[in-house]
């Protein structure tokens, strides 16, 4: 047919959209009505509690009147939730680290940001060193701050960041080992990975806090935080190894063979050809593991470290503030949600982009 026909007459767009997407069958009509009713009745009280009736500013607990949330509590204790017992006068050091972390990793979310690759590499190599100098202090005239004074969001970030940085190289070695042709090395890596993956983090933390001191020779000791970090890193490296192994398996055989044909030895072949490709492929996987680790760091409160959930837990029982438990939990939930949701969006986008490439 060559002559063009007028387009079919459509109803007014929003109405049509609703008819297509909300009221297309009898059960959808029913569902829509029920859901709209539920949302309608719950959103009002929720908004009231969260914002309209809530108290945001004030001087002391008595200012929290009315039925709404007492955000004043968060406001007053924010310093504790962010830094734990870190001395006020030294908090600029933590702020610098927060800032540098943001500089290194936020651009990763923005495509075409100049030099974002280099910022990322800096975040994984240079930044830990700066942090190692800055946070504990004790040199270059910086006052020493003992690790038992660290706490709050700062400690949560340290645990997750060190866990990921430490587990990456270990994970690479384990993944390579698991794909090795030498049965002893492969067997060892398989056992190591599977054992760590099978046990819950909380037992690992218990082991690190209660048993690690028994494994070490007399007179040798780590601080509790360091022990927890060792536990978290070993545990995480097993997960990391599995993620990286996925990347290694996705590299076509031809790449390995081409590397060998060029006469490259095992390590050079891995370093120059295989790993760069494999690691790029698994960035979304690494980010997802990181999200998991970030959320799992809350478990350290069970061994008595004050992470952000730990600081909130210890203040909601303060007799001066009555019934602020829900506000506290909502605050922590919101903090975690912002971080994790952002990161998961990033990894989903990346996954979609990488998807076009290597799949066969």
């Amino acid at each position: 047919m060559s002559e063009s026909m007028a387009p079919p007459k459509r109803a007014f767009a929003p109405v049509q959209w609703m008819r297509d997407n909300l009221f297309n069958t009898w059960y959808n009509i029913l569902l829509t009505v029920v859901v709209v009713y539920m949302i309608g009745t719950s959103i009002g009280p929720l908004l009231n509690w969260l914002f309209l009736d809530a108290t945001f500013t004030g001087a002391d607990p008595k200012d929290c009147v009315g039925d709404g949330a007492c955000w004043l509590f968060i406001n007053q204790r924010l310093n504790f939730f962010m830094y734990g017992f870190y001395p006020d006068a030294q908090q600029w050091r933590v702020d610098i680290m927060f800032f540098l972390l943001a500089v290194a990793f936020v651009p990763q979310f923005i495509e075409r940001f100049p030099a974002r690759r280099w910022l990322g590499i800096f975040g994984m190599t240079g930044l830990p060193i700066i942090g190692y100098i800055l946070i504990p202090g004790g040199w270059f005239g910086l006052e020493e701050v003992q690790s038992n004074k660290w706490g709050g969001l700062m400690l949560t970030l340290i645990l997750a960041y060190v866990g990921i940085i430490g587990s990456l190289p270990l994970g690479i070695i384990l993944a390579l080992g698991r794909r090795s042709e030498m049965p002893v090395i492969r067997g060892f890596c398989v056992i190591f990975i599977e054992v760590w993956r099978a046990v819950p983090l909380i037992t690992v933390l218990f082991m690190a806090s209660v048993m690690l001191p028994l494994f070490l020779p007399e007179g040798m000791n780590f601080e509790k935080l360091l022990r927890a970090l060792i536990g978290i890193t070993l545990w995480q490296s097993a997960y990391m190894a599995e993620v990286i192994r996925g990347g290694l398996q996705a590299i076509p055989r031809g790449q390995y063979e081409a590397g060998s044909a060029l006469g490259l030895g095992y390590w050079r072949k891995m370093r120059l050809i295989i790993l760069p490709q494999a690691l790029t492929l698994v960035i979304p996987g690494i980010v997802n593991t990181f999200i998991g680790l970030f959320m799992d760091t809350t478990l350290v409160l069970i061994i008595g470290l004050f992470d952000i959930l730990g600081t909130v837990q210890s203040t909601i029982t303060d007799p001066a503030w009555q019934n602020v438990a829900i506000e506290g939990y909502v605050f922590v939930a919101f903090c975690f949600w912002v971080f994790c949701f952002g990161m998961s969006r990033y990894s989903q986008n990346l996954e979609r982009k990488l998807d076009t490439g290597h799949k066969t």
Partner: protein, 395 residues
Amino acid sequence: MNDNNPPLQPSRSKPWNDPRVRAIFFQVVALAAIAWSGWTLIENTLANMESRGISTGFGFLDQSAGFGIIMSLIPYDATYSYGRTFFVGLLNTLLVSAMGIVAATILGFIIGVARLSSNWLIAKLSLAYIEIIRNIPILLQIFFWYFAVLRSLPTPRQSVDVGGVFFLNNRGLYLPDPIAQPGFGWVEAALVIAIVAVVIIKRWAKKRQLATGEIFPTVKVGISILIGLPLLAYLATGGPIEWDIPALKGFNFGGGITLIPELAALWVALTLFTAAFIAEIVRSGILSVSKGQTEAARALGLHNGLTLRLVVIPQAMRVIIPPLTSQYLNLFKNSSLATAIGYPDLVSVFMGTTLNQTGQAVEVVAMTMAVYLTVSLLISFFMNLYNRAAALKER
């Protein structure tokens, strides 16, 4: 390339350039290093325990525990041994994990399908659920369900009372407990017969369908046999069950079955959290089935539900099972967070109280880890079996 290279000779390579020799060398070195570090660790530990006068061995398992546990699936009181506390904790861990796995699977499948619903509102609501729940730490969710919900429940004396049989208060949910009387064996026997009958009918129906194409209503008939036969036996023997109905005695309700708030909170939190992940797995599984399959099913005249049940889900299962397995493992491992709210699981009872009272950290932690390792491997093993059964059979 240098043209002046001497002509290639059959390589008289040095032994250390032979990859096989090198591989053996490395493995021997690795083995030696592993053995040496393992030995050092063990020696250190033994030396440390010796020099610090810490008792060793598993003798403590026979000593009487002397502390109470709120919930136990096997008989337990303070006079039982530490070894018994191990099994009490283990069974409680397995109970909450099993309950969580069943509920999370059902909820996850519903939300995963709802995520693909043609109803915009339902699809977005599922998306919001997934994105909120899975980005908040599970420990926080457990705390929330425990402390926030506990506060809103009434005290035992003001219980929510449903027909004088079910009671809900801040000590738990109380249900009547069926107690078998003599003669109940007939009912059990009837149930066994019913199960056998259903299996036979199913086989026969399938054979008939293959031969004649006639469909026998297996599901309806099966369910009515499964319910009907034991019910008949029950009535015929004069109802040999007595219900132990919970009643307020002193401070608390006595009798009946109690679902304690710790178990409920843990169960709800584990279910909701894991369901969000399962929903995403189900969604991507369903999306992995090519549209042609759905269209072909529609062309055969199958309606929506049947298409999903007979065509899409069976194929999606192949994609779903491996990640589903790791979610089950995660749920099982996350059940150890029970210790934060006082549900008496393995970590809380055995690695908590028992470890504390005996001080034998090495033995207790080793036993606990061995349990988690074993059960994780078992879950993987059974899911792999199921996966093999569901895998594409190419003929």
